[in-house]
Amino acid sequence: MSFIKILDKISDKTSLDASASRRDVFKQFKSFGKDVTMASIPFGLAATSKNTKAANAAFVTTAMQASPTDVLNFALTLEYLEKEYYNIAIDTDGLIPSETKDIFAQISKHEDDHVAFLLAALGDAAVPKPTFDFTGAPGGLALDPFENYDTFLALSQGFEDTGVRAYKGQAGALANDNALLEYALQIHSVEARHASKVRRLRGQKGWVTGGDAASNGLPDAFNPIYAGATPESNLVQGGVDLSGMFADFGGDQAVQEAFDEPLTMEEVLAIGGFFIVADSDS
């Protein structure tokens, strides 16, 4: 069963009472666990499908909680992507200059470990690694990250900043499983450490600034990494509008920087879809 079909199945659940408690919702989605674990996660399809957009529109974040298995497989797919990206880069002679080799070896080691951890946690339920294309061809891009160090860094920033937002977006879905929530948080902040370092290697601030790619030193094609239902430019936190309140403390830009924002699973899948070759049998 494809991920799209799962999304459709979930979004079509008109029987889902909007006022149902989170625990009830959680239980309902648990029944999809089996389907989800067999999903092949064709990110490429997710990126372009009208169904996905429709599903997105129908999603009410509080009601749309994926199962923990679903979330772990989602995380695993992201970590597969990061792991393969850094493994290829490290194995590419002449790409990473000697002065930053230790940095990327450390990041790569962490992504390897995150994959190993998630594989162990998921056991037989783990999704297989998709086929990646880091030129971005599935999304219509033509990048050369393994021939051009600047491109490599740019894409690394994009993946790390996406990773931070992706884990953050799933905190709610793991809220009823203390152990999984804590593990996810422990990975989440490591991705943020990576992101800060990679951004600074590029002459960017370590923290996300503004709500689009340009304000973070990336080409417009990367806009989805900083946009979304809750864009990085968000100024309202916990129902409190913080705009204009901190004129003496960096203004609205500092407010935006002070809070990282989540991406929904669907938003992350759309970004990942740029780099994942669609599974032919899905």
Binding site: R22, R23, T62, E99, T100, D102, I103, A105, Q106, I107, H110, D113, H114, A116, F117, A120, V164, Y167, K168, A171, G172, A175, N178, A179, L181, E182, Y183, L185, Q186, I187, H188, S189, V190, E191, A192, R193, H194, A195, S196, K197, R200, K205, G206, W207, Q237, G238, G239, V240, L242, M245, F246, F249, G250, A254, E257, A258, F259, D260, E261, P262
Partner: protein
């Protein structure tokens, strides 16, 4: 300006004899546990508060902050229970960070930095971010305690005299400790937030929104101290899970975080953390 380590007068107004007894006992135990190390008192487990032989009324699943109509002026503030307790806990940490950077940017190390240096921008930005976090919590907690303003952590006093604000290593090293502590604290607090309580999901997401910014700060300060090494996500600050790693940030319970904060000696205002959730 040493203050007495243990103040038990907070319980004097209580009319609930049994509860009063157990709390008095707990505070004394807490004080003994950290005698000589700080003015700040903390407790690791709500369970520690309860004597099984006491009536169960103190064990309501979601105890409200004890009504204390006329608290003595010198009453020691308790962070409280449930999500409010966690919010107050985060507020305390953000007050600490904001106060540190406020002093740091007035110090000669910072003012002597070149205007266009990355180091100056990092310190300035972190100062902004932490002040914003502090003021945000003040607003959010103020809203949550509109009917019980005494349940909001008051403004704390700090003493950073042990930091040399003229010295790069002292300023950046202290910043790194505070940021790493913040990361492990938020990671450890996440599961303690009751998402089924009012606004609980929002609080969890907010913790997530802030913790990654703290991690970005920590990464930057570690890297300023040891440029282009693995310091930004060094093995020493990370942990392993199930034999995999080290590739995970710590998730530290409030009791351990507060113990570490005590050890810094920075916090001058006493408060207790006797009712924070532990799971």
């Amino acid at each position: 300006m040493k203050k007495p380590l243990v103040k038990v007068d907070i319980v004097e107004d209580s009319t609930d004899k049994s509860k009063k007894g157990s709390r008095r006992k707990f505070i004394k135990l807490s004080g003994l546990g950290i005698a000589g190390s700080s003015f700040l008192l903390y407790g690791c487990s709500a369970d520690d508060m309860f004597n099984p032989e006491q009536p169960v009324e103190g064990m309501t699943p979601n105890p409200e902050p004890e009504p204390e109509p006329e608290p003595p002026v010198d009453a020691v503030f308790d962070l409280g229970s449930g999500n409010l307790g966690i919010l107050n806990y985060a507020f305390a940490l953000e007050q600490l960070e904001a106060a540190f950077y406020t002093e740091a940017v007035a110090g000669s190390y910072y003012t002597g930095l070149a205007a266009d240096s990355e180091e100056k921008q990092i310190l300035e930005d972190t100062w902004y971010h932490e002040v914003i976090h502090r003021e945000f919590f003040k607003t959010a907690i103020g809203a949550a305690t509109a009917a019980t303003p005494e349940a909001m952590l008051p403004d704390l006093e700090f003493d950073f005299s042990s930091v040399d604000f003229t010295d790069r290593a002292s300023v950046l090293g202290t910043a790194l400790v505070l940021e790493d502590t913040g990361v492990s604290a938020y990671n450890g607090a996440g599961k303690l937030i009751d998402v089924d309580a009012e606004n609980g999901g929002t609080y969890l997401l907010l913790a997530g929104k802030i913790v990654s910014v703290e991690a970005r700060h920590a990464s930057a300060y570690a890297d300023l101290l040891e440029p282009n090494t693995t310091a930004f996500a060094r093995d020493e600050v990370l942990v392993s899970i199930s034999g995999v790693g080290p590739a995970f940030d710590k998730a530290t319970p409030p009791g351990d975080v507060l113990a570490a904060v005590i050890d810094t000696g920075f916090v001058q205002t006493e408060f207790t953390a006797t009712q924070l959730p532990t799971e």
